[in-house]
Symmetry: C2
Subunit: 478 residues, 2 copies
């Protein structure tokens, strides 16, 4: 790291930790020179970088201040979904997003949920995969036990303590990605016609499970900083025969918030009062910017009603398809569902991940990418605020690598995509994240991969295209 | 191969090809000496081996004759299941069979559906897996396209021509084993309370899908040589609102029969007349002893109503979890089900299999193991006829590596297992293969792995245990 990067990082971290708040004056250039024993030009460069990222702002003749990065007013609005059970649609759009392999893709898809696969700290995982496959005999490619590798379940149980969970390896089942974990959960808890309450917007993969299983989505208003509205949820539970509550409370996809602990605890209490199960999707939880990482809802679950679903798809790589579930009191049914769904999972990928975790590589990798994602969040935020038309609202992710934009009402992001595809660009339109095609004026962007000039130019083009669609709309009206 | 093995194999093959039929006199020792240019003792040894396997029998002073290996009367009876829609049970017993990884198992499980993993012809697959993983970058562990690797789908389409099927790679979707293919099919075709007609006995994995999905199994009488009774099926279709017909018509698990072509064709016609879909499980089809392998039902499917399900789990190894489906007219729905069930499948195992097939290793491996399984079928048959009490009926597998035994009525194979577990032995009890616990007096044995003295001794012990349970039963009655 250069000297100026060291300084910029240190100042950035102090802001992140709340030592300086929005509008606070930051140390002068002279102070930082003394503290870090560096030259004036180094500190100037550091501040310039922070300014570029939108973290600080220079005020002429007064010095540097913490920028009002995302003033509360610029956050996406609290969502107002339909609040009655709805059939899910939008499959065509989801297929357009996830149907093709990214390596065969002619579009630059800025909307997909893919982590940075170039991270050097992934190397030990590749080495382990290589060694295991080199040494493998065909016997190692026999059927595995249904619950999955004990070694891996041990490691996952150990990691879970970080999120406040005391799990025994037997409390865990390995799945084919988080998608299978969610699918098994919802199929265990509810059948055709049943109602599932979800935060909203909500991951399209879960919404499509509801659709495939004939379930109805009851979308609950959700705050972009604190998550699902407990008040609205309580009303909904009184009014509808809800079979399960499905939430992604930590580093939410797509909104990026982490529910405060008190609200997580209150959600468990509410579920207990109405005797409903909770399906908790924690796939981005280990990518929280805070340390230690936030607690899971599962960690407050004193009567085993939470089914905790996760995977290494966002923290490591998606293509090993290694996920897991801690199904609580539903273990037997979920194990049955797992058997009929795919049988036992592949063994060697599980062993590779288990060894990677056991040797401390997972935690090292997390430290590295979490810092990277946090830095890139700020850069991407800066670009969006610079390049998108006024009236654009943007999320303030507390972890993960996804940004949610709420554009002026006149914008339809499916139409936007059609326009963008002419320039080989693609975003994830907001309507995928709703049962009923709400959030048409919203979109999701990914800031995981190193933010090259190409991506900066792409963000700029998207901003310009939005602006031009707004212009056309105004003309139509005028 | 030794000289006597060459001779034994040649004579065995002529019998298999029908050049000599049961009861026919075989060439004299002198004739074979001339033909193969070997000594008398070599031919004697060859005949001794064939006799041991129960293929030929010596008649004093008359020579060698084709043995009435399995006289028709010793075949299992035509099944007589309940013929009304039933809820499936038996999960506990299935879990006992498949719950544990074979490598951690304290029992010698002679009932599991595992191929010979020691076959030398699998080596190129292991090499390819090793090379692919050594060369892999993390990008190769990104999400794959939903339909799966095009390379692999091309190879599967090419192989399908052997079974009379003209498929385009786009007609195929890669799945997580055959289990996922079956699960996607049945979930696409039917919902809770719906009726699915099945051959009977039927693979327990499929039966458990019905259970998990809340479907009812309508078990149709099935002939141990020609498969599902079309007459009974027709009556059932007239009487019940059947949503799908699920069959395993080639190298059936557990009965080993292959439906004659004419009956396969007639089954399609029947499905057309009643406008019902057919789910065809072909997982053992490439292991048929006949060459070319028998045609699939799918190959007669002129209006795209057959969903062909298969995998490399029995022909290569189970632990890669590479399966596929040709879903016909249901492609869009099955693709949706695939997405919500597990998302895209892992890429590298698909590529390894694709390369293995493309280089001709698959066909080479098949030739090798099919001959081995055919030989071992005869040996295992011989052991069973020698070591089991009179009244035991046994299937005559036309492919694959599974033998089905029908024991005298007094035997309950779940109780038998309890007794066998004291000697660290385990068989697959017949009741797993029925919705309602029929076939309690039946069991399944595996003859895939090289038939060592240990396995011979195990078969003997099982036979003795059956005999002793029969004795106890007779005493109780007496
Ligand atoms: C919130 C959330 N849950 C689950 C998944 C599915 O994860 P996996 O790829 O492990 O099946 C994703 C991936 O996009 C996700 O964003
Ligand atoms: C007839 C049949 N179908 C399907 C399967 C499941 O195959 P896979 O292991 O590929 O999921 C089996 C395996 O036991 C089987 O015997």
């Amino acid at each position: 790291m250069n000297r100026y990067q060291t300084v910029a990082l240190a100042v950035g971290e102090r802001i992140e930790q709340g030592l300086y708040r929005v509008g606070d004056r930051l140390p002068s250039i002279r102070q930082l020179c003394r503290e870090f024993r560096v030259s004036v030009s180094t500190v100037q460069e550091a501040y310039r970088r922070l300014e570029e990222r939108g973290v600080v702002e220079a005020r002429p003749r007064s010095g540097y201040f913490v920028a009002a990065r995302i003033a509360a007013s610029a956050l996406p609005s609290v969502s107002r979904p339909a609040q009655r059970p709805l059939d899910v649609s939008q499959w065509d759009q989801v297929l357009e997003l996830v149907g093709e392999s990214p390596s065969h893709d002619r579009l630059l898809r800025l909307g997909r949920g893919i982590p940075d696969l170039e991270a050097a700290t992934l190397k030990p995982l590749l080495r382990r995969l290589s060694t295991l496959h080199r040494r493998a005999a065909a016997q190692d490619l026999n059927y595995d036990g249904l619950a999955g590798s004990l070694e891996l379940r041990r490691q996952i149980a150990r990691l879970a303590t970080t999120s406040g969970c005391l799990l025994h390896p037997d409390d865990l089942l390995i799945t084919t990605g988080c998608q299978e974990a969610l699918s098994l959960s919802l199929r265990t808890l509810a059948g055709p016609g049943d109602v599932v309450a979800v935060d909203s917007p909500s991951f399209y993969g879960t919404m499509q499970i509801l659709k495939a299983q004939g379930l109805k989505a009851l979308e609950i208003p959700t705050d972009p900083q604190t998550g699902i509205s407990l008040e609205a949820l309580e009303l909904a539970l009184e009014q509808w025969p809800v079979k399960a509550i499905q939430v992604t409370p930590t580093c939410n996809n797509p909104l990026g918030y982490t529910m405060p602990e008190a609200r997580k605890r209150a959600l468990v209490a509410l579920a207990q009062r109405f005797d409903v199960a909770i399906v908790e999707d924690d796939i981005y939880g280990d990518l929280a910017f805070a340390t230690p990482r936030p607690r899971t809802i599962k960690s407050f679950d004193d009567d085993d009603r939470v089914l905790l679903c996760s995977a290494f798809s966002k923290t490591l790589v998606p293509g090993l398809r290694v996920g897991w579930i801690a199904p609580g009191r539903y273990r037997d049914q979920v194990l049955h569902m797992k058997y009929v769904s795919t049988g036992a999972s592949a063994t060697l990928p599980q062993l590779a991940v288990a060894e990677f975790v056991a040797h401390g590589h997972y935690e090292r990798h997390l430290r590295q990418v979490v810092r990277q994602y946090q830095r890139q969040r700020d850069i991407m935020l800066g670009w969006v605020m610079r390049d998108f038309p006024p009236g654009t609202r943007v999320s303030d992710p507390q972890g993960g690598f996804l940004l949610w934009l709420e554009l002026p009402d006149a914008i339809d992001c499916v139409r936007l995509n059609a326009r963008l595809s002419e320039e080989s660009l693609h975003i994830a339109p907001g309507s995928l994240f709703s049962a009923s095609g709400k959030y048409r004026n919203c979109l999701r962007l990914n800031y995981a991969a190193p933010l090259t000039g190409k991506i900066e130019a792409a963000v700029k083009r998207i901003g310009e295209t939005v602006a031009s669609q707004l212009g056309e709309h105004a003309e139509l009206l005028g």
